[in-house]
């Protein structure tokens, strides 16, 4: 038996043998033990063939207890190689999946299920839904809030530039979208007259939600908040986007609300984006898709720009190269997207939006003729609502009936000043097509749940972010 040990020792002592291949993989402890025996000169033990123990390592076929029959059953080398590669792949893929779930689970848990306690007077419409699925039961209204810069989620000195209410009737699949100007001069419950965007700075999501309910009678089932800096970070994380700018973009009144260090939260900046193919960084891309004054055709042109950027961005997100950047993107979303919806709700919403006919969405922006710009007595530039024109529109859009209201004066927290009784014909809502959505959310997506859908849900959270930033459910479709 000694030559066998000599062979093992030679194998470990001569690297040149290694270059020609290792005949058999060994547990280190076994090798060490045998080496120890060799060093000690031990040649006989209970493990030696013929002494009742298993055959020693490296013994040729036909020796000792391993007869010809066992040799015939030996697994061919190519099978072992394939199995080894398969196991290696399994370990690599399993490790990657485990790593990514660990990467995504934390930000996802910080984004979804972020309940905000309702203030007194803010009735919870979800109570009457009896736990119904987000896309079944009675109508749901989702408040979309967009804020300017870092760490905006705590109420304090920050504003919500975007205030949009999405309404979905699960029975008919009709979708409406009400954009309320940030400068709307209205009563903020308990705080008197303020611009709507200040409601967020005075009391965060809870007060914004209560303000919408008390001033307009629109109950809010869910909210989704996005920090615009998060969108910039996502764009920058994928290395920017490359688009063909359709025409020169000029805007002398673009809100200077991202990265503005001056302290003037109502400041403007000027834009001039030259036309033609070019690279857009995160801030550039946000300016390109947000500018409202750069097209004679208004929101149609803006929508075309948004689709360009979304197309370029999603092309990058669908590229395999993005795998290495996903942890960065997940980190970028963490703290910049918040919602009280659960992940499964967001998945269903995203899937629903993907099947939605963009032309079927009723869009109303409460600009003129529903409001007009002006100054308060203290010379503050604001937007004054015209309640007589607003009430019929929101009554119809949200199916509110006589519950639609318009409280535009202080100390009117009970909604008694203006009501649906105001006589005025309802102006035609823009794009009032109200057609049924083309398809319902797929069950394959709906059935997913738990932490296993983090990766897919993560993508849906990106779509949620795009919907808020672009102020349109269409953003989830591209």
């Amino acid at each position: 038996m000694k030559p066998q040990f000599v062979k093992i020792n030679a194998l470990h002592l001569k690297p040149s043998r290694l270059k020609r291949g290792i005949p058999r993989l060994l547990p280190v402890t076994e090798v060490d033990t045998m080496e120890q025996r060799a060093v000690n000169g031990t040649t006989g033990s209970a493990s030696q063939p013929g002494m009742g123990g298993p055959p020693p390592f490296g013994q040729p076929p036909g020796n000792g207890m391993q007869g010809p029959k066992r040799n015939k059953r030996r697994v061919p080398i190519w099978v072992r190689v394939v199995i080894s590669i398969f196991l290696l792949l399994l370990i690599v893929v399993g490790g990657l999946v485990g790593y990514y779930y660990s990467v995504f689970s934390t930000p996802v848990s910080h984004i979804v299920g972020q309940q905000v306690t309702r203030l007194k007077g803010d009735e919870d419409p979800n109570v009457s839904r009896n736990g119904a699925d987000i896309l079944s039961g009675s109508r749901i209204n989702i408040l979309l809030l967009g804020s300017d810069t870092d760490q905006k989620f705590s109420s304090g000195s920050y504003l919500a530039q975007t205030d949009i209410v999405i309404t979905i009737d699960p029975a008919t699949k009709k979708v409406g979208m009400l954009s309320i100007p940030r400068d709307f001069y209205i009563n903020v419950p308990g705080n008197g007259m303020h611009k709507l965007d200040e409601a967020y700075s005075l009391g965060g999501v809870a007060l914004s939600r209560l303000t919408i309910y008390q001033d307009f009678g629109i109950p809010i089932n869910y909210y989704a908040w996005v920090g615009l800096d998060g969108f910039i970070k996502v764009i920058d994380a994928v290395g920017g986007v490359n688009v063909d700018v359709l025409h020169p973009i000029t805007d002398d009144n673009y809100p200077d609300d991202v990265g503005n260090k001056t302290g003037d939260i109502y400041a403007y900046k000027r834009l001039y984006i030259p036309p033609g193919p070019q690279h857009l960084s995160g801030p550039d891309a946000l300016e390109y898709v947000r500018s409202r004054h750069a097209d004679l055709v208004g929101d149609f042109g803006r929508s075309a720009r948004q689709q360009q950027v979304l197309g370029a961005l999603k092309t990058k997100l669908n590229n395999s190269d993005i795998i290495s950047k996903l942890p960065d993107i997940a980190h970028d979303l963490d703290g910049y997207v918040k919602t009280d919806m659960q992940l499964t709700d967001v998945l269903k919403l995203a899937n629903f939006a993907r099947g939605l006919d963009p032309n079927s969405i009723q869009r109303v922006i409460l600009g003129p003729p529903y409001s007009s710009s002006g100054n308060t007595l203290s010379d503050e530039s604001v937007v004054f609502p015209y309640c007589a024109k607003i009430i019929p529109v929101i009554a119809q859009m949200f199916d509110l009936g006589n519950n639609a209201r318009c409280n535009i004066q202080a100390n009117s927290d009970n909604g008694s000043l203006a009501s649906a009784a105001q006589p005025s014909p309802a102006p035609a809502a823009t794009d009032n097509t109200w057609q049924a959505a083309s398809q319902v959310a797929g069950t394959s997506v709906m059935s997913m749940g738990g932490s296993g859908d983090n990766l897919y849900g993560f993508r849906s959270l990106l779509d949620l972010m795009f919907m808020v930033v672009f102020e349109s459910p269409n953003a989830m479709q591209i």
């Binding site: 190689v81 359709l246 020169p248 690279h279 290495s324 530039s381």
Partner: protein, 395 residues
Amino acid sequence: MKRFTPWSTRLLLLLLALSLQGCLGSGGNNNQVGNTITTNSNGNKVSVAQNLFKGKIYFTIDHNLWVTDGSGAARELIHGSNIYDPAISPDGKWIAFIARFKDFANLDYISAGGGPVHILLSGNGHFYNDSGFIKNTYYWFAQPAWSADGTHLLFLSDIEKEDWYAATGINAPLLDLQVFSIPFNNPTAKPQDVAYASFGDGGDRDPSYRPGHPNEVVYTHYAYDTATRTQQVIQLFLEDANAIANHPGVYHPGLPGYDPGVAITDGKDQNLQPAFSPDGNAIAYVRRESSSQMGLYMMKVPEGVTANPNNPTVEQQALAPYHKSSHILSGQFISQPTWSPDGKQIAYVSYNNEFDLWLANINYNAKTGVWSMRGIPVPLTSGGVDGDSRPFWTP
């Protein structure tokens, strides 16, 4: 003892490693074309090929000004000034360019040999409240272009944005950029109106003087269709540079049909970024063929159409060369064509995950009047240059 064949294991592992490398997108950028000159903001090494052209090409990387010659060497002329659209004077002494800031731009120049930056026109200003309207005194400047004798510069600007209010009483600034000119030696003189913009689609772009025809300029005109005012119409216009100045009160900015420009491309196609050949007889331009596909085309310059631009017969005559355009090549985001001084090559920007400069050799058949490409295009740079700044080629 069974003999093993470790080479097969190694081969399989090698294939596995290669496939994983492909899956993960690693392996680096192997498209380097020549000498590395810098690393851009994306972390890519930018390289320049050698022995592909004669003369010097000025361009920008991360909006820093660079110049390269045919040797493959390159030199950074200005760093950190957010530079666009360098233009070299005909005598080679000066480089005019745009320096952009947050709310405005300056039209600057430096000596071609280096030295301090001089401000020719400053767009700096401030915001103010005009009866509830937030306005400002900032201005943009863009895309300077020299006259053939080096005495004047064309440029784009919104310096007359409040003139619309003054003329109409409608308090809506005309933000769309228009074409102006100033004498290089007297920049404080009032800029001369050269080409007007239509309201609402961003204005004009890509102005340049026609070589050999000092009174003619070409530019891209962005507008909406007159019927519905919803569809973009992007055309190349040829114009008498002095028509507005010589006919005061005849032409007005803001509305189509009230300018002395004559369209030399059909409005049903979107054509942009014209570049005159060195002899002034041809124009290379870019046509949008789809959302990402763009084509490089060439056409003759229509003659004698700027004197009477609003005559329907002249308008038809001006479009005739366009319909005989030669298609040179197509690709993703092809843009910013510029001719070599000898008229035998075109440099342009193309896109393959990054914007780079490419070169195409050009043939012209005088008998058929057709341009064609000789051989295949070759990359001049790799690693990524700016796609939104037009390069400039000098002898």
